[in-house]
Amino acid sequence: MATYILRRALGVLVVMFAVVSGMFLLLHVSPVSPVNQLAPQIAADPVARAAFEHAHGLDRPLVVQYGDYLGGLLTGDMGTSLYDGSDVADQVGRALPVSLELGFLAALLAGIPAVLLGTWSALRQGRTVDHVTRVVTVVAMSLPGYWLAVLLLVSVDDPDYLPSAGGFVRFAEDPVRNVQVLLLPALVLGLGAFAMVTRSLRGGLVEAYASDHVAFARAMGSSRTQVLRRVALRGAVVPTLTVAGVLIGGLLSGTVLVENVFQIPGLGQLMVTAFQRQDYQLALGGCVATAAIFLLLNLVVDLLYLVVDPRTRQGLARA
């Protein structure tokens, strides 16, 4: 068990390494040089350009730069922005908690109603609730968050209770205001996740209810709640865990767009701004951080599998 976790964690590190390498290489072989974009005057003058590149270590062999970057990452140094010379790690460190909080809030807002609705519609399979749930979730899955956000910006703007854009306040400064600010974005962000969890939970439950062991439990006179608690729910969580990878990805992607609309200084906005300014060092830092979170959360999901479905512990082979 412990060795398995260790092996998985090691695997995550390897993939992380591959991702960083891939992004770094892409960045440096890409046809757009940061220097060209950043300082056209300097780029035109070979001497000044060389001096600039030298100052930022860009004239060294790629391998050396790469090694340098990797070494820096290990010590928490992500380099400095070419745009304004700020420290990347510092900026990422400030943006990350904001995004995490937003994501967490969205997951919460999505998860709780999803569990209730998913269970309810599975128990009332084929009835009105079930049909309504299906329609609602398909529509919810199909509403692009950014569009919804724009609509909300246009329609809802109550600066006292539900401020829509700008005016972000950190949790440490004013928790209530902070949650107020984040509520609308989190709702928009969580909508898709809500739909997906509802559907997968419903599907898993329906499948579990059709299984032989639920039939046997019913034939033994087990009550509805006993069946749900003992046998069905566990079976239903597995498919939900399976879509969790997609869900996490969706939430992380969603933050980019939603933060942008609502002007929340999170990781997403950081990356978009960096790309728009062609501040590649900063963009790279943001991507590395996102990848790390993504892989970490996926690792957690994998380990949850072991808890929920002990068969994976014994059989091991997950095709």
Binding site: M1, T3, Y4, T312, R313, Q314, G315, L316, A317
Partner: protein
């Protein structure tokens, strides 16, 4: 390999002749047409000795197996109505919708297929058998073993364990003979089937056809020689492909028919041979019943002109009333085509019906092998007896169902794991006759009146003759017990 001794039931035709007849395309049906003589002739005159020439001759005749349109027309002229389902009269070779053309064609295919096998010389044991008994084995399994690595548990260390799926299995089958391999699930019988068909590579051991080894990785030509029919006919066809596609495909792949029309003709003919009509070709597998699919799987296997059919549980998934159809069909195919057939089954009733010879497997080993009349009616090995005793018999004056459960030591009815098989004789933990030696030494094979038995106590365990009595005796001691239980 111990050359299994000849022991055929009386009703069997002389096998060598049957084989020859099959090749000739005569014997089963009346007069061969000129075309048949053409295509089948060289195979006989040249025989095994000059495969080179033979193959050329076969090619000259359109690779032998190709059916000319004339053949089909010929069959039509005989006034056979293709729609007559032959179930009504399955045993009669004539009048059930099968023309001579089909026999000749398949025989010629068989001849061509045999030529694809390397010239003999390797199989000394087989020639021995030929010299000794006159029964010519077509297919021989020679000390087959197959181990599979066990997937390791999470976080467990240590050496990789092995499942001893098949442990030293040897037997042979002659043309026109059916060998039944019986045993319970997990005894390795399906693995044997796959090794015979070249789908699983033996860890050790060889598969021989006509005394020559068939490698595990076979050329398409070699692959045709031994055909495997898997258990579930519904799964045996691609569910998104029509039956016509499924039957044309092997012909196309092996170049056995010149064009689409020839393929269609061959497919139609074979479909009729198994008692169906050409309209079945238009169907999708899901639109057919289990019995129809079972016959179509057989038809597909026959299309490539095999010499050996290996059937894995051919009737297990079928309803009682359909089983009989398939059993009768297999018997007819054996007689008409002189095929060597290996039937893997857990249904003793079916095996008794079909088999000329039978092998009983337990935990990867053949524990008893011999004429079906003895092995499936008066077995000597304690496991074989237990197995037979546990087969429910339709006996309204019943003696209770649990004969076998009584025979085994109390509560020890579990089949041991094939990962760590018991020492000595693998059956000893469940065996009522077991003594100390059973736990220590793997019993040697011994011959008891034409039956090969792997048991230390085979001689002691009742040598009564006569089919039923032995079983009854073996089982008698327990009847009282089970009656008491009731």
């Amino acid at each position: 390999m111990s050359a299994a001794k000849r022991a055929m039931t009386e009703s069997q035709p002389e096998p060598q002749a049957a084989a020859r007849d099959a090749v000739l395309g005569t014997g089963v049906e009346g007069e061969p047409s000129a075309a048949q003589a053409d295509s089948a002739g060289p195979a006989v005159t040249l025989g095994d000795t000059a495969p080179e020439t033979d193959r050329r001759a076969a090619q000259a005749n359109g690779a032998g197996p190709a059916v000319t349109v004339g053949d089909v027309a010929d069959e039509r002229n005989h006034g056979v109505d293709p729609r007559v389902a032959p179930e009504a009269d399955v045993h009669g070779a004539e009048g059930d919708g099968v023309g001579e053309a089909a026999v000749a064609r398949i025989a010629a295919q068989a001849a061509a297929a045999r030529d694809a096998v390397p010239a003999p010389g390797a199989g000394a044991g087989v020639s021995d058998a030929r010299a000794a008994g006159g029964r010519v084995p077509v297919l021989a399994a020679d000390q087959l073993r197959r181990y599979f690595p066990v997937p390791r548990q999470l976080g467990k260390r240590g050496p990789v364990q092995q499942v001893h799926a098949v442990e030293d299995v040897s037997f042979d089958v002659a043309a026109g003979e059916i060998l039944a391999v019986v045993g319970e699930s997990g005894c390795g019988k399906s693995t044997v089937a796959r090794m015979l068909a070249g789908l699983t590579e033996p860890t050790v051991g060889r598969v021989l056809v006509d005394g020559a080894e068939l490698p595990a990785r076979r050329t398409p030509e070699q692959q045709r020689v031994v055909q495997l029919v898997t258990q579930n006919p519904r799964a045996a066809f691609n569910r998104r492909r029509g039956i016509r596609h499924a039957l044309h495909q092997p012909l196309r792949v092996h170049g056995l028919a010149a064009g689409a029309r020839e393929r269609e003709a061959a497919a139609v003919e074979t479909v009729r041979r198994v008692g169906l009509s050409e309209e079945h070709l238009d169907r999708m597998p899901r639109d057919l019943s289990g019995g129809e699919l079972a016959r179509l799987v057989l038809a597909r296997a026959l299309l490539v002109g095999p010499r050996v059919l290996v059937l894995d549980e051919p009737t297990a998934s079928l309803d009682a009333s359909v089983k009989a159809t398939v059993v009768n069909l297999l018997l007819r195919l054996r007689d008409e085509l002189g095929l060597a057939i290996v039937v893997i089954t857990h249904e003793i009733d079916i095996a008794r019906r079909l088999a000329d010879r039978a092998a009983v497997m337990y935990l990867g080993r053949v524990v008893e092998l011999g004429p079906a009349a003895e092995v499936l009616h008066a077995p000597r090995h304690p496991y074989a007896r237990m197995l037979l005793a546990s087969v429910p018999r339709p006996d309204p004056t019943r003696t209770g169902p649990a004969l076998a459960a009584d025979m085994a030591a109390d509560g020890a009815g579990e089949v041991p794991s094939a990962v760590t098989p018991p020492s000595g004789c693998a059956f000893h933990p469940r065996c009522p006759l077991a003594t100390q030696v059973c736990a220590q030494e793997v019993p040697e094979e011994r011959m008891l009146g034409g039956v090969r038995v792997m048991c230390h106590h085979a001689e002691d365990a009742g040598t009564e003759t006569g089919a039923e009595t032995a079983v009854e005796t073996a089982v008698d001691g327990s009847v009282s017990g089970s009656a008491a239980a009731r």
